[in-house]
C-alpha cells in the first residue's frame, strides 16, 4: 500500500553524530552508479539498497544524507523510499522470513506455513521477535509459482515447502546472517564492472 500516509509532523528523527552514508559508501556509489545514469536522482534506488545492505534498514538520517549527496530534497527521497516495500524504514530482524501469499501459493497451502511460523516464533505477521533474530511477513507473488509454496529467507529462495522443511531450514540458519548465502552462487561476485 504505497499510498498510505503517516503523520510525520509529530515524528522525531533519531540522530547520531557519525553519518550512515559513509565516505566509503559514497565512493562506491560514485564509482559504480554515477556513470550509469544521466542524472544523480537515478542513483536513488541503488543508494537506498546500499544503505539497507549496510544497516539492515534505512534510518531517516540516512535518507537526509542521501538527499544531500544526490542533490535532492529529503522529501523527495522519502517520497520514493515510502513507495517501495523492500525498503525497511524501521528496523527488522536479522533474518527476514517472507512467505508468498499469492494465488498459486495460497492454493498450495502457504497459509499453513505462515500460521506455523506465527506459532513457532510467537509473533504476528509483520512483527519481529524480541531478540531481533526474525521478522515475519507475507508478501505478494515471488514469481516462483511452479514450486509453491515458497518463502524467501533474506536473499535465498526456498521452494516446495512444508511445515517440516520450514522447521529444518530455520534450525539450520547460521548464528550470524552474514554467513548466510545463496548456495547456488558459486562464482566470485566481485563488485560488478
Amino acid at each position: 500500500m504505497a499510498w498510505i500516509t503517516e503523520n510525520r509532523r509529530t515524528a522525531t528523527v533519531e540522530r547520531r553524530s557519525e553519518p550512515y552514508l559513509t565516505e566509503e559508501i559514497k565512493a562506491g556509489l560514485t564509482a559504480k552508479y554515477f556513470p550509469r545514469y544521466p542524472n544523480k536522482r537515478a542513483v536513488l534506488l541503488p543508494a537506498l539498497h546500499e544503505i539497507q545492505h549496510a544497516y539492515n534498514w534505512i534510518p531517516v538520517q540516512a535518507m537526509e544524507e542521501i538527499a544531500a549527496f544526490l542533490e535532492m530534497s529529503p522529501a523527495e527521497v522519502l517520497d520514493t523510499a515510502t513507495f517501495y516495500e523492500e525498503y525497511w524504514l524501521r528496523p527488522k530482524g536479522q533474518y527476514l522470513l517472507q512467505v508468498c501469499r499469492s494465488l498459486s501459493c495460497e492454493i498450495c497451502d502457504s497459509r499453513k506455513l505462515t500460521d506455523h511460523l506465527i506459532k513457532k516464533l510467537k509473533i504476528e505477521e509483520g512483527e519481529s521477535t524480541a531478540d531481533g533474530r526474525f521478522t515475519l511477513v507475507e508478501l505478494e507473488c515471488l514469481g516462483a509459482c511452479g514450486t509453491a509454496p515458497v518463502m524467501l529467507i533474506n536473499d535465498v529462495l526456498h521452494e516446495n515447502l512444508t511445515v517440516e522443511t520450514v522447521d529444518e531450514l530455520i534450525a539450520k540458519l547460521p548464528a550470524s546472517a552474514n554467513d548466510y548465502h545463496d548456495p547456488a552462487v558459486t562464482w566470485d561476485e566481485g563488485d560488478g564492472h
Binding site: H49, T80, L103, S104, I107, C141, C145, G146, D155
Partner: protein, 449 residues
C-alpha cells in the same frame, strides 16, 4: 504448425536435476552470439524487418508486435536512445522470465544487443525485481562477462562501431514497476507511478529519450529469429500468434513447472500433456496468463492458448504471460477471487481513484461474503465496480485496474451460482447494512490480509 525442438529452452534440460547455468563459454559452445555477429552485417532496417516479418508478439502481457514497436523509435538520432528490459515479473502465476535468467542469461543479453543495433540504442537497463536476488546475481555476472568479451562497452560490439552499455537496475518490491512507464519512473529514482500516455516511451521514455521496452522472453526470441529466419519462426504457433512460448504451469497439476511449446496448444494439452494432469480432483478453472487476464472455466479446456482464442472464445482479457494457475474442483472460487483482488488492492499505486478505491472496496465486499454476510446486491456492486475501472472504460492511467476488472468479471460471471449461493436475495438488508458498514469503515490498509 508443429513444435519439434526446444527454442527458448534449448539450453535448459527438461529434467530439473540436470539443469545447468550457462555462462559465456557454455553459451558460445552451444551456438551463442552467432546471431549477434550476423546482425552486425545487417542494416537496422533489415533487423527490424526480419523481426516484424516473424510476427513476434510481446511476451510481457500485451502481445504487441515486437517489430512494430521497434519501428516507432525515431530513425534520425538526436540524442541517446535507451532500451529497458522488463524483468520485473511479478504477475501472480508468472515465473518464466526467472527460468530464462536462471539458466540462460546470455540469450537475453544477445537479444538486448541485437535490439540495440536495430534501434540505435546507447544504453540498456535490465530492470529486475528486487526479490529476484539470485537472478540479479546471475545477470550481473553475465553482463560482466559480456563486457570482458567485447560485447558491451566503449570498444564497440565485437569491435564494430556500435557502442552499447548495459546495466542491471534492481527494483525494490512493487508490482506496478512492471507497467512500462512505472518501470521508467523507478529507473529514474522516483515512485513507480505509471505515466499518462501519450507521449509513448518510443518518443519520450527513460530520461525523456526514445526508449524500447521489452519483456525478457520477447528479447530471448530475437536471436533464434535472426539465426533461422522469420519463415522458420512461423512454422510454430498460429498465423496470428506465431512462435514458441513458455507456459508456466502451477497450482493443482501433477508436474508444475515451465514448459515450452508452440502458441495455440489447447488448455487441455497444457494441463494433461505438459504438466502431468490434474491433481486432487477434476478441473474447475484456470487462470490463463497471470491473474489479470481472468479465468477460464471448467468447460473451456478446448480453448487454444494463443493471443486471440483466449480472448475471443475464452472470454478473458488475453493470453497475458501464459502463466497458468490450475484449480481443481475443491477450490473455493470466492477465496480465489478474494486473493486476486487483495493483490490489486495492495499493489495499486494509488494515483487513480477508481483503481485505488475500487479495488479496496471489492476486497471488503468479498471479505463480507466470505464472512457469511453476503447480500445479493454485493454481486451487482462487484460487477458495477469492475465495469468502471481500467483503461478500457477510460478511467485510469494504467492497465492494473483492467486486471482487477477482468479477474472479477470472469470469476463472478463464470462461477455465478457459487457466488450467488453465498449472497442470498432475502438476507435482511437492514442487518447487512449495520454489520456491513461496521466492516467497511475500518481505516484503509489496516487489514491487508
Amino acid at each position: 504448425m508443429a513444435f519439434n525442438e526446444p527454442v527458448l529452452t534449448k539450453r535448459i534440460d527438461a529434467d530439473p536435476g540436470k539443469r545447468k547455468l550457462h555462462f559465456y563459454d557454455d553459451y558460445v559452445a552451444t551456438g551463442g552470439y552467432k546471431s549477434l555477429r550476423a546482425a552486425l552485417d545487417m542494416t537496422a532496417a533489415d533487423i527490424i524487418k526480419t523481426v516484424t516479418d516473424s510476427g513476434l508478439r510481446g511476451r510481457g502481457g500485451a502481445g504487441f508486435s515486437a517489430g512494430q514497436k521497434r519501428s516507432f523509435i525515431p530513425r534520425e538520432k538526436k540524442g541517446l536512445h535507451y532500451l529497458a528490459v522488463n524483468a520485473d515479473e511479478s504477475e501472480p502465476g508468472t515465473f518464466k522470465d526467472r527460468y530464462l535468467m536462471d539458466y540462460d542469461p546470455h540469450s537475453l543479453l544477445e537479444g538486448v544487443a541485437i535490439t540495440a543495433l536495430a534501434t540505435q540504442v546507447d544504453v540498456a537497463y535490465i530492470f529486475i525485481r528486487g526479490e529476484f536476488h539470485h537472478e540479479i546475481k546471475v545477470t550481473e555476472q553475465a553482463v560482466k562477462e559480456a563486457y570482458q568479451k567485447g560485447i558491451f562497452g566503449q570498444g564497440g560490439i565485437f569491435g564494430s562501431k556500435h557502442k552499447l552499455e548495459c546495466y542491471v537496475h534492481m527494483g525494490a518490491g512493487a508490482y506496478i514497476c512492471g507497467e512500462e512507464t512505472g518501470l521508467l519512473e523507478a529507473l529514474e529514482g522516483k515512485r513507480g507511478w505509471p505515466r499518462n500516455k501519450p507521449p509513448f516511451p518510443a518518443i519520450a521514455g527513460a530520461f525523456g529519450r526514445p526508449t524500447v521496452i521489452n519483456n525478457v522472453e520477447t528479447l530471448c526470441c530475437v536471436p533464434p529469429i535472426i539465426e533461422r529466419g522469420p519463415a522458420w519462426f512461423k512454422t510454430m504457433g498460429t498465423p496470428s500468434s506465431p512462435g514458441p512460448k513458455l507456459f508456466g504451469m502451477s497450482g493443482h497439476v501433477n508436474k508444475p513447472g515451465v514448459y515450452e511449446d508452440e502458441l495455440g496448444i489447447t488448455l487441455d494439452y497444457a494441463i494433461n500433456k505438459l504438466s502431468g494432469g490434474m491433481k486432487g480432483g477434476k478441473h474447475k478453472g484456470t487462470i490463463c496468463g497471470g491473474i489479470s487476464m481472468g479465468v477460464l472455466g471448467p468447460e473451456q479446456l478446448d480453448i487454444k492458448l494463443d493471443f486471440d482464442d483466449v480472448r475471443f472464445r475464452g472470454g478473458c482479457l488475453g493470453l497475458g504471460t501464459a502463466g497458468m494457475i490450475v484449480m481443481n474442483e475443491h477450490t473455493d472460487m470466492i477465496r480465489a477471487l478474494r486473493n486476486c483482488v487483495r493483490f490489486y488492492a495492495h499493489e495499486s499505486c494509488g494515483q487513480c481513484t477508481p483503481c485505488r478505491e475500487g479495488s479496496a472496496w471489492m476486497k471488503k465486499i468479498l471479505d463480507r461474503i466470505l464472512a457469511g454476510e453476503g447480500r445479493a446486491r454485493d454481486l451487482d456492486m462487484l460487477l458495477e465496480l469492475e465495469k468502471s475501472q481500467g483503461i478500457m472504460p477510460g478511467t485510469t492511467i494504467c492497465g492494473l485496474a483492467d486486471g482487477t476488472a477482468w479477474a472479477t468479471r470472469t470469476f463472478v460471471n463464470k462461477y455465478y451460482e457459487e457466488f450467488a449461493a453465498k449472497c442470498p436475495e432475502e438476507r435482511p438488508t437492514q442487518m447487512g447494512i449495520k454489520r456491513g458498514i461496521r466492516n467497511v469503515t475500518t481505516p484503509m490498509g489496516s487489514n491487508t490480509r
